[in-house]
């Protein structure tokens, strides 16, 4: 299981966390990541609007596939988006994204020195995320 990168977007679509774990994506400037995050936030909302089935509260984009990667997007009920980029045909991305959310709930939400909606600079979160993602590579 190779995870290339993890991105976290706040409710307004602002990029609050970005980290590469394994080579697989292009080297992209931080500014470009900001643009990608912003656009994706808009696109995500529209994907639920164009749903042909008439279910109310249809969810937005959840999985995006390309030739070289698969991206799992998990949006929490509070509007936070977790984007996990991994090698294609990656089986258990749902488990991975849920675990990342738990680590976020523990090491970011419970850190008194983290300000809500701001970029994440919690050393504890980095350490535990790397410990969780790295060995699987």
């Amino acid at each position: 299981m190779v995870v290339y990168a993890v991105l976290i977007l706040n409710k307004a679509g602002g990029l609050i966390y970005q980290r590469d774990f394994n080579p697989g994506l292009q080297k992209i400037s931080a500014n470009d990541y900001l643009i990608i995050a912003g656009t994706f936030h808009g696109v995500h909302a529209i994907t639920s609007q164009i749903s042909p089935t008439n279910d109310t509260g249809s969810s937005g984009l959840e999985v995006l596939e390309s030739e070289h990667f698969v991206m799992r997007c998990f949006q929490t009920l509070t509007g936070i988006k977790f984007l996990i980029f991994a090698e294609p045909r990656q089986p258990n991305l749902d488990v991975v994204v849920r675990r990342v959310y738990e680590l976020y709930a523990d090491y970011v939400m419970k850190n008194p020195f983290y300000q809500i909606e701001m970029p994440i600079r919690s050393e504890g979160f980095d350490r535990h995320l790397a410990a969780y993602i790295k060995p699987q590579a």
Binding site: A12, G42, I46, L77, Y101, M109
Partner: protein, 192 residues
């Protein structure tokens, strides 16, 4: 979603997905926070209530993420009654290991009460007998803020306040929760 499934979920999350610690540590730490507030605000209990509520609100904004992550709830509550079940049988169970009874539903299903027959925050507590505290201080007011903050993060604006407290000599500890409105999601500007 039947309330029995909510009860089972609460039980299961408490058993298998919650790290546990000594309850008295939380009780005494909460006590030291309230005491510090009473000292800082030199006995202005109305202000202490407000500050406790504000601190609770700050906690609620964060606690909701922990709640959603651990309880793995994917869908929003179907209606306010379901929300009441989730708060009592999953939320309270998961964090404070108690299940308050839900009571006194208003006819329009917009108001209900939570009766805390057990309140771990208020163990060993006796309000100061300065003649004011028992009339003005809501000792566990932080809980109101927590619920208000948490629900606001899932697009529900509510008012939460205590109506009675055993510490004040009442027979029950009762919190009144009122749904003010559902906050609709902010839509991103349609830049397509």
């Amino acid at each position: 979603m039947a309330s029995t499934t909510r009860a089972r979920l609460g039980e299961e999350v408490w058993k298998s997905r919650t790290d546990k610690i000594n309850a008295e540590l939380v009780t005494l730490t909460y006590g030291s926070v309230v005491a510090q507030l009473c000292k800082d605000l030199d006995g202005d209990y109305a202000e202490v209530n407000k500050q406790l509520d504000k601190m609770g609100y700050n906690i609620g904004l964060r606690l909701i993420e922990d709640f959603l992550a651990k309880s793995n709830m994917q869908q929003k509550c179907a209606n306010f009654r379901d929300t009441a079940d989730v708060i009592s049988k999953v939320g309270f169970k998961m964090f404070l290991n108690i299940i308050p009874t839900i009571a006194n539903w208003s006819s329009d299903n917009k108001q209900f009460s939570l009766l805390l027959d057990e309140n771990p925050l208020a163990d060993f507590v006796e309000l100061p007998d300065d003649g004011k505290a028992q009339g003005e201080l809501w000792y566990s007011n932080m809980l109101c803020g927590v619920i208000r903050g948490a629900l606001e993060m899932v697009q529900m604006q509510v008012d939460v306040h205590f109506v009675s407290d055993i510490l004040r000599g009442h027979d029950t500890t009762e919190m009144r929760i009122t749904l003010i409105r559902y906050i609709d999601d902010e839509m991103p500007q349609d830049d397509e």
